[in-house]
Symmetry: C2
Subunit: 648 residues, 2 copies
């Protein structure tokens, strides 16, 4: 690599006190195919999913392939009794939590309670064979149930046409699965990253409040209740029913058990070792209240009860799917929306716990597992299942080691379906409402919202937009707001990159943002601007105009302070990782504008891609190789003496 000395050989405060000008290097030329390959790899295979397959025999490769689809084959060989003990305990714990929740969640989806239990049987078994998360607990969840219920009832009234409604729900579940598995199979898993964390926090909080509000029906024993989910309609329903619709016996039962559940939750929160207290509290509530109602026959006093749950495990539902007609396309639409939300939740949970135990999750493989489980579920009378945050946390704390805890849970649920369902007859609806309320309160993450407020105000706006949209309008609108705000943020990012004027930090050769480092000194006659983004068509005009505005402002300041006029404009290109044709055009136009003002444009530290494109477009020749420097320090070292010459 050639080094050239500056014309005057000194006068600069460069490194090691001797000036060494390092040339800006062109990266080694890559072939077109290689370049294309690397883009494809980073986009779709950035996690190098095939790295284990390298340097293996053919038979080993086949085995690894099967193991990639069914991770159970991998970890089953190292399974032992110690792990089994942990898995059985955690499996039993989450089973006791999920059974009452399932019955309640099915109602959110406007389905019979048994479908909630069905969905906690088949999907967890499928997931256990194919999933790579060791901590996730699979089953129906509140938000997805509510979303599926809201979307389906807009198409078919569940009270008038329960059979058709059920078929639509299965169809939506099928396509949610196809959609999830398809995203994973096509390695498009990164698409779910487009739902921002902040929007998800807001959406979940809003959904939790909406679900809790819906429970007022069961909790207060109201018979005539609105079909809308927004807070205004629900409150109107509640107050309209106040005079004759509230049932004091129901309220008494509900309120006492809700208090019990919340106290149990508080205990579990205060003492992590007592995590099992809130985990089994719901089942205890169900048993005690069912027994109580059975003894007192409170159902004759207007306390609403579950009445009947069919006995037996999941029937086959293949013939119930719509594959043509109007409900077919509606099923695809609902499946895509609900599937996306279910996927976001499950992947977030899998990632969170994987990070806590420090193992890797392959997002795309995870999606294939989740999708397959929903496809199989839709054929066996299940509706959309996904990872439940509350149950996964309990699973983790109860000491699960592998997905065997899901198998244990599924077996318990199956036994419940076969033997115990008749006993749920006298379970009061108010208890289910209390269980759901206490469960969804955990989805309202005020700490996260406060943190978001502290870190990023725009994120907070997205969070509140989604929250208020769900609470005051509807779940779909809230979801739409989340997506739109997330995209708007991305677009804002690429359209309006930051720029900064740099100055020299005293006693160093380091140039930094003068707004961040007020002691960084600007150099008279030289304006140094850093552009903080790739320069693409979406921002190239803005960047050019913004640089010209900085120049205008600095020129005015220089004039006012009677300082020498600006003769050199150095653009620090370190953060400019890429440039496209529009970007090159913009810099060319900037160069022309500056030439008219007799200001020399200088580029400092263009990266490999930018350097290559500057040469490919011949702009490097136009501006002159000698005006492209390795660093701002080098550029200033060359410009300063020239400036002194001009002024002399």
């Amino acid at each position: 690599m050639a080094k050239t000395n500056p014309p005057d050989g000194g006068g600069s405060d460069a490194n090691d006190n001797t000036f060494v000008r390092h040339r800006v290097a062109l990266p080694p030329k890559e072939g077109l195919l290689k370049e294309f390959k690397s883009v494809v790899q980073e986009t779709f295979f950035h996690d190098a999913p095939l790295r284990d397959f390298k340097d293996q025999t053919a038979s080993k490769k086949v085995l690894l392939g099967i193991q990639a689809v069914f991770p159970i084959i991998g970890w089953a060989r190292e399974y032992n009794l110690r792990k089994l003990r942990g898995d059985v305990i955690s499996g039993l714990t989450i089973a006791s939590l999920c059974i009452p929740q399932d019955i309640g969640y099915a109602k959110l989806a406007n389905l019979d309670p048994k479908y909630g239990l069905y969905s906690s049987f088949v999907p967890p078994l499928v997931y256990a064979g194919m999933g790579s998360s060791r901590d996730i607990a699979i089953g129906p969840v509140a938000v997805v149930s509510l979303l599926l219920g809201t979307l389906c009832q807009a198409v078919i009234d569940p009270n008038e046409n329960p059979a058709e409604y059920l078929r639509l729900a299965f169809t939506a579940t099928f396509f949610a699965g196809v959609f999830e598995a398809g995203l994973g199979f096509l390695r498009l898993g990164f698409l779910i990253d487009f739902l921002s964390h902040a929007a998800v926090v807001g959406f979940m909080g809003g959904a939790a409040i909406t679900i809790a509000l819906q429970q007022l029906k069961g909790f207060l024993g109201i018979k005539k209740f609105t079909k809308h989910t927004d807070i205004v309609s629900v409150m109107q329903s509640v107050f309209a029913a106040a005079r004759h619709g509230w049932n004091w016996q129901t309220i008494l039962i509900g309120a006492s058990f809700l208090t019990f559940l919340l106290v149990a939750k508080y205990i579990g929160k205060k003492n992590k070792k007592l995590f099992w207290v809130p985990a089994i509290a719901p089942l205890i509530s169900v048993v005690v209240s069912t027994f109580f109602v059975f003894i007192t026959r409170a159902d004759k006093q207007g306390v609403q009860i579950v009445r009947h749950i069919d006995q037996g495990i999941n029937p086959i539902s293949v013939s119930k799917l719509y594959f043509s007609g109007k409900y077919f396309t509606e099923g695809i639409r609902i499946g895509a929306v609900a599937g996306m939300v279910a996927l976001t939740e499950a992947v977030a949970i899998a990632r969170t716990f994987a990070a806590m135990k420090d193992y890797q999750i392959d997002g795309n493989k995870e999606m294939i597992a989740l999708g397959t489980m929903n496809v199989v579920g839709s054929l066996t009378s299940c509706y959309i299942a996904t990872g439940s945050f509350s149950r996964s946390a309990v699973n983790y704390m109860a000491g699960c080691h592998t997905a065997v805890s899901n198998i244990v849970m599924a077996i318990v649920v199956a036994l419940t379906l076969v033997f115990i369902t008749p006993l749920f007859k006298y379970t009061p609806n108010a208890i289910l409402a209390a269980i759901i309320i206490s469960a969804v309160l955990g989805l309202i993450d005020i700490d996260a919202a406060v943190l978001i407020w502290k870190i990023d105000k725009l994120d907070f706006a997205a969070c509140m937009g989604a929250f208020l949209g769900v609470v005051f309008v509807s779940v779909e609108i809230g979801l739409l707001i989340s997506v739109v705000i997330s995209f708007a943020k991305i677009l804002l990012q690429v359209t309006r990159p930051r720029t900064a004027v740099l100055g020299k930090l005293p006693r160093t050769n380091v140039y930094r943002n003068t707004l961040q480092y007020p002691d960084a000194a600007k150099i008279p006659g030289i304006l140094i601007i850093r552009v903080d983004s790739a320069i693409y068509f979406s921002n190239s005009n803005y960047v050019r105009e913004r640089i010209l505005r900085w120049l205008r402002e600095e020129e005015e300041k220089a004039k006012a302070a009677d300082m020498p006029a600006i003769k050199f404009l150095i653009i620090e290109m370190s953060p400019v990782t890429d440039i496209d044709t529009s970007g090159i055009h913009s810099i060319e136009e900037l160069h022309k504008s500056l030439e008219k003002k007799e200001i020399q444009l200088i580029l400092a530290n263009p990266g490999p891609v930018v350097t290559e494109k500057l040469h490919a477009s011949r702009f490097a020749d136009e501006i002159g190789e000698e005006n492209i420097f390795l660093s701002v320090g080098d550029a200033v070292a060359i410009c300063s003496p020239k400036l002194a010459e001009q002024q002399a």
Copy 2:
């Protein structure tokens, strides 16, 4: 600002041979309102449109306000005879060019020729009062005419219901204007930057070929012609008509004049001073060929002629707009699409010429002017007008100074409408076809396509996608492909930012990408990674996983080479201009993963926004202030001795 010395006081090759550790500064705290104000300013008012209003008296402000809407008030005061001379010459030149073009373009929009002339009368006058570009020539253009024609005829058949078709075209024009002005008024002008330059080049080239193909009807004198615009259908039409439909007299006339036009074009290209040759060639062709047909009565031999153009200037068309019903919504849709394309073309032209003459264009004000002109146009029997690239270039070369050239052109067109239209009766359609073919050939920018190929392969894919979409399917599909590819590129950019491993350049304290600078040396036991983008929800997972992958790869290399294990991971944050809650989460998770491997995470040079957020989220405390450095050099200077200690 505090400086701390490193614990061991030296051993580093930092600046000036004495180690000064500069602390990473927190930027001065800004209020929430101020922060919000600055975001709004950069997004919507980055060009500081009100800067002239500062420190002015109230009456002066009002005057400036009026002048902002009508720039003509500003420049009219400095207008003089010299400028008038240039404007009159250029106005006459573009008038001679636009009259034959207008008649042809109206046919592309399935409208009578007179509507093309109408659209070159009112809109240029409105623009002259409100527009800020001095070089743009306003009127109908080929691509927008074709687009309007294609979109409208999909709704109403122009042959069966010409009156309704006309009303739809006016309605679309009205809403195109409302849409354009609305974007400008709401300062959303940056939205048009989302159509990438590459996609526009491809779209324009494809549209040019499609338009040229459409001219084969007039050029060959074919009577039965396909309604589709794709190349396959058109060629089938042409060959199906070959046996009996081609008219040799028509072909003879068309071919001779097309040769004449192309030769004229070639002369103008070779000698810039003869730019007026191709500019007046079309009018000469029209005059000569019309006279020739009139003398020979070739129209009786099957040569198709214009036949009749109504005399008189634009009638009022207010009552013809649809403001309700099906065609109302269709009009809005078509107007939005065609308006966006028209806007993109006009703003690109205005910017190009403004850059050449070095004056500023306010994109948003420009849009208001263009929108207003189309709204007024739709009320006076015009269809969508915009800036024509070919006529603007002629205008520029003919020496125009101000928008007065548009006024001159409009007056000439009006005089033509009043006095000369009957003379066009015998103008052969083949001449109009030849004029359009020679005009649109200029839209096929092969040089630009080659440059795009050289600079950016992905841009080239966008370009070809748009091109092939227009040529082989339809204009709308081509446009859709352009938009989709443009957005896909933006999303790719924000999802998959680049990362690089840095090494130290010999004899400097500068750290650079080891792939670009092969002589940059990695430091044993320390891995330095630069992340080249803001870390947002859309890429935070990728960034974390990619860093872990770099670490894994480097650890394997270190192991193979029997080098010390990696103990410090330095992330160079200079290009990380912003971070959101998801990004903070990701870095926290990375920190936890590294802690388990006993690797210390170190951040170098976080910018002002990132520094602030690291503190707001308490992550700065978690990782420890002492692990956040001003530069990679500083970080290495501290880590190296620690590393030596550990190994000793």
